[in-house]
């Protein structure tokens, strides 16, 4: 490969050169970056130091995303990369790395939410009172225990308004928290609250330019 992670090629703190008295060693070697793209899953297994394995994802299309405030997690399709703090090039080429902001499919979360609370998110025309009617209609078909559970949970209901809007479009903004080139997965969390506001601003700013 030729890439190495030694410190012998760097200068000292004082600015002086380091004498190179030995060749590159195998324990200092580095590999090419994964540059994981979006597409049908393609993962290569790399044999690493000590006989351990790394799963270098070259193409990924799904990831396990968690909606933290609701404590719901689901496998969801990654649609495209929206923002990367490191490099705009990575956004243009749709490259997945840790801390990349992506848009994911919202349908699995819609399903989980309705299972938990009995409320359908993302219905634009219907108002809240109508949704409650729907909920009570659904509840008639469902057994008593579940109805009670939905009533209890319904008391503490709260969704971030920005996230609620996202459900109407059918796509959520999420952040990748795993390292696709190391673990072979694109797992992450749904953006909420101050983080969501921050990244929305950044994306709008970029789209204006």
């Amino acid at each position: 490969m030729g890439i190495s992670r030694d410190s012998r090629h760097k200068r000292r703190k004082t600015g002086g050169r380091m004498p190179i008295h030995q060749k590159k060693r195998a324990f200092e070697k580095a590999r090419q970056p994964a540059m994981t793209k979006i597409g049908h899953k393609r993962v290569h297994i790399v044999r690493c130091r000590g006989g351990n394995h790394k799963y270098r994802a070259l193409r990924l299309d799904v990831g396990n995303f968690v909606w933290t405030s609701e404590n719901l997690a689901s496998k969801s399709r990654v649609l495209w990369v929206v923002y990367n703090a490191t490099n705009n090039e990575l956004v243009r080429t749709n490259t997945l790395t840790k801390n990349t902001i992506v848009e994911i499919d919202a349908t699995p979360f819609k399903a989980l939410y309705s299972k938990k609370y009995g409320i359908d998110l993302g219905k634009v025309k219907k108002e809240e009172t109508e949704q409650k009617k729907e909920q009570s209609e659904k509840a008639k078909k469902v057994w008593e225990e579940k109805k009670k559970k939905w009533e209890e949970l319904g008391k503490n209901l709260f969704i971030d308004p920005l996230v609620k809007e996202e459900f109407k479009v059918g796509r959520l903004l999420a952040c990748i928290s795993s390292r696709p080139g190391q673990s072979g997965r694109a797992d992450g969390y749904v953006l909420e609250g101050p983080e969501l506001e921050f990244y929305k601003k950044k994306i709008e700013k970029k789209s204006k330019q």
């Binding site: 933290t68 405030s69 609250g193």
Partner: protein
């Protein structure tokens, strides 16, 4: 809070979760903050527990532990971003002449935003931590303001 977000990525403390229902419904400007006691008798400054800065290399609000050596020195330069250069003076004995000579060592130490009033000439206590960058292995724990006359590099103060 807007002053804190100066970078292209969202600055946050990894330990604190800003996505809990409790935090989202509250919507207070104060927010949740993680800070810790570094141990060894060092007091965490109020600016660390009450401030809003995000610094993952801060010993009080970040992900570094202080272990190993604790040293004292004089601050010589504060030009770097979040790090200071500390000068430690010592005397080296020459047996042939039964006399001493002056020697010094410069150490780069990470300086948390909790100590934003640090300036050249201050006496500083630094603690060893894991490597934070190519040359930084220490973190500032305590600052004792000090007024010096002349350049900080020319002072010879033994601790």
């Amino acid at each position: 809070m807007a002053d804190v977000q100066t970078e292209r990525a969202f600055q946050k403390q990894e330990i604190v979760s800003l996505r809990t229902k409790k935090f989202l419904t509250k919507k207070t400007s104060t927010g949740v903050r993680y800070w810790k006691n570094v141990g060894l008798g060092f007091k965490t400054p109020k600016s660390a527990s009450e401030g809003a800065y995000i610094d993952k290399k801060c010993p009080f609000t970040g992900n570094v532990s202080i272990r190993g050596r604790i040293l004292r020195g004089m601050v010589v330069s504060t030009k770097m971003k979040n790090t200071v250069v500390i000068r430690r003076n010592y005397l080296h004995y020459i047996p042939k002449y039964s006399r001493f000579e002056k020697r010094h060592t410069n150490i780069s130490a990470h300086c948390s935003p909790a100590f934003d009033t640090i300036k050249e000439g201050d006496i500083v206590t630094i603690g060893q931590c894991r490597p934070l960058s190519k040359t930084v292995r220490f973190n500032v724990l305590k600052v004792q303001p000090n007024q010096i006359f002349g350049a900080a590099r020319k002072q010879f103060v033994l601790f």
